[in-house]
Symmetry: C2
Subunit: 379 residues, 2 copies
Amino acid sequence: MVRVRGKAYVNEAAQVSAGKTGRRTESAAGRDVSTVRDVARRAGVSASTVSRVMGGTYPVAAATRAKVLKAMRELDYVVNAHARALGGSTNKTVAFVVDDVTGPFYAHIARGVEEQASAEGRLCMLCTTHGDPQRVLAVVEMMREQRADAVIVVGGAWEDKAYQDRMTHFAHALDRVGSRLVLVGRPPLGEGVPATVVDYDNEAGAFAMTTHLLSAGHRRIAYLARVPGLSTSTQRISGFTRAHELMGLTPDPALILDGEFTRAHGYRAARELLASGADFSAVFAGTDMVAAGALQALREGGVRVPEDVSVAGYDDIPVAIDVYPALTTVHVPHEELGRTAVRLALHRDEFPESQHQVLGTHIVIRASTRGPGRPRETS
Amino acid sequence: MVRVRGKAYVNEAAQVSAGKTGRRTESAAGRDVSTVRDVARRAGVSASTVSRVMGGTYPVAAATRAKVLKAMRELDYVVNAHARALGGSTNKTVAFVVDDVTGPFYAHIARGVEEQASAEGRLCMLCTTHGDPQRVLAVVEMMREQRADAVIVVGGAWEDKAYQDRMTHFAHALDRVGSRLVLVGRPPLGEGVPATVVDYDNEAGAFAMTTHLLSAGHRRIAYLARVPGLSTSTQRISGFTRAHELMGLTPDPALILDGEFTRAHGYRAARELLASGADFSAVFAGTDMVAAGALQALREGGVRVPEDVSVAGYDDIPVAIDVYPALTTVHVPHEELGRTAVRLALHRDEFPESQHQVLGTHIVIRASTRGPGRPRETS
DNA sequence: GACCACCGCGTAACCGCTCACGATAGCCCA
DNA sequence: TGGGCTATCGTGAGCGGTTACGCGGTGGTC
């Protein structure tokens, strides 16, 4: 925001002098919005009376109110939200920072946030970061300028010290202004950091699904899409491993494939798995999108699901019922996450101790999983 | 916004007196953000100099600039966007009004809007209306208060006179403030209305797809999900009909089923079709989501796609490649719609005559369509 | 050596609205 | 009839940042 090399004014000056022959201040658009004073003049009252009519928090004679309302209607008056925000403290805005609106995962949380925000009389600002930690920081800074009531950041956090430090700084900075940093679906920043975190039981979901697969008889389960350094991924792997250990098993490292949480990666990884001739009877995808990609690769490879191999996903986004076969997956309460995020943030004085809430997850069983068939190798 | 019955002040007064025993103004949060004047004092300069350093549009000695920057860093200063917006004209914000962020259709447009907006240095406000025309009006009003640079409304319009009149009013009102109403994917409001509209060739897409089906030999094509009164739907039906007429055919009204643009409706409608024993060899769904529902119903009914009946969708959302079989559909340039919407709105002085842009659509052929098989009845 | 252009910066006046404070008028009761 | 009260309303001081205007200082020019 701060332009350090300030030579820009040279251009500006040139433009001004050039503008003399051009359209000059004409480009500044027509400014003829009516103000409180305009309304006041027309109604024959003072500006503060108009303000009082709008606020409704102060006695105004019925006759006067009527005059004012009439004037407002005639002038098609609308308050200037900025002027109002400048005087008062809050500007009635909630910010929502997300990787990419396009992903159904984020979209549903966004819906929850937007619903609750508008229910609480707040507007909602949307910012996307495209997975770039730098942009997250920049965006949060902008929200600080906007004096948002709450800044909600969603998505797996990068387990990076410098990044976490910056976020901690923002948490304190926002707190000082009376705002609030909310972390959704990512781990807390640490003790004493003024931020509320709304999480879902990532590890338990992975644990439950893995247990489901294991107790169905599967012993060699491939895990698709481990993203090193991403908290979400780490937790899911953790649940995956713990379920194995509880049954005295250890997952084969060769069956854990690194990669992003994308459909494309699911496709690639499943193809590799097939090509390598690896022994496995089930696939646990890190994400429903990854599962969708894997499903396609499996189908193209002539592998039947679930007869030959079972496939499970994570998230329970709408597409899970549209893929074929319908996907067994871990349900994440997306909208509820968004809603409680803004609720907790806006009423943090009412819920002072529950500023770290973790919502439950559960598995939903559909058509893509069953017990292991005959090993593919022996066919 | 204007509370007509202003008795609310009674509660307010009660609250104030009650607060005396409580935490009083404590709830107003700690206000200790540093201002321009704080920075100025610490740097030993005047407030205007600080402002000039930030703006970069005016000469400031290097030494002074350094002092100011140092002070800003030490105080962790951030400008107040509202104060800035109050003095200057624009507040660097683009509003985005949508039915429901959850739909992939809207989500992709949203992405385009957000990308272009941030590329142009604008923030992005998101509002959802849940298909309620009343809320659209209310939301646009709020955006007027926010003095947004542009208000982008997307989604099929309701062909309702009163509604259109209100929108026309808003178009003029926004224009007066130097803002702009942008309609995406909906028809223009009429001649002389200051609004930019970015549309895609809805009718041509439906025409192309229908022609594709007809030239493959299909003669009895069912159209799923006609939404009466919704402009998008009307246009698609129009293309569907025109394609028939061009080949000297007339579509059978019995094969055009009313309903919403939802997955659930697609499912219901396809089941009805099957149950009624109607004669058809292809299904043209009004939407990919509708197609997904239809696909499920068909599969459950033992009908093979595309061997027995072909299925086509509209929109080309990501799920189109995840359903089975992969869906033949009409591609709509969602992100491009969003991007050109904000581009046109923000630079409307540069493109004065092209304020009604219509982007092309094209069909993409995947696995769900082919020529008609043997009639289902005779099997 | 006086004059002028120009650079760098401070002063003060806004932008539109809210709110504490003070003023005015009607009303009641002593 | 005067004093006190209350219901209404106007006045003015900001909220934080931008910007037109003006002033002191410097260097160059005739």
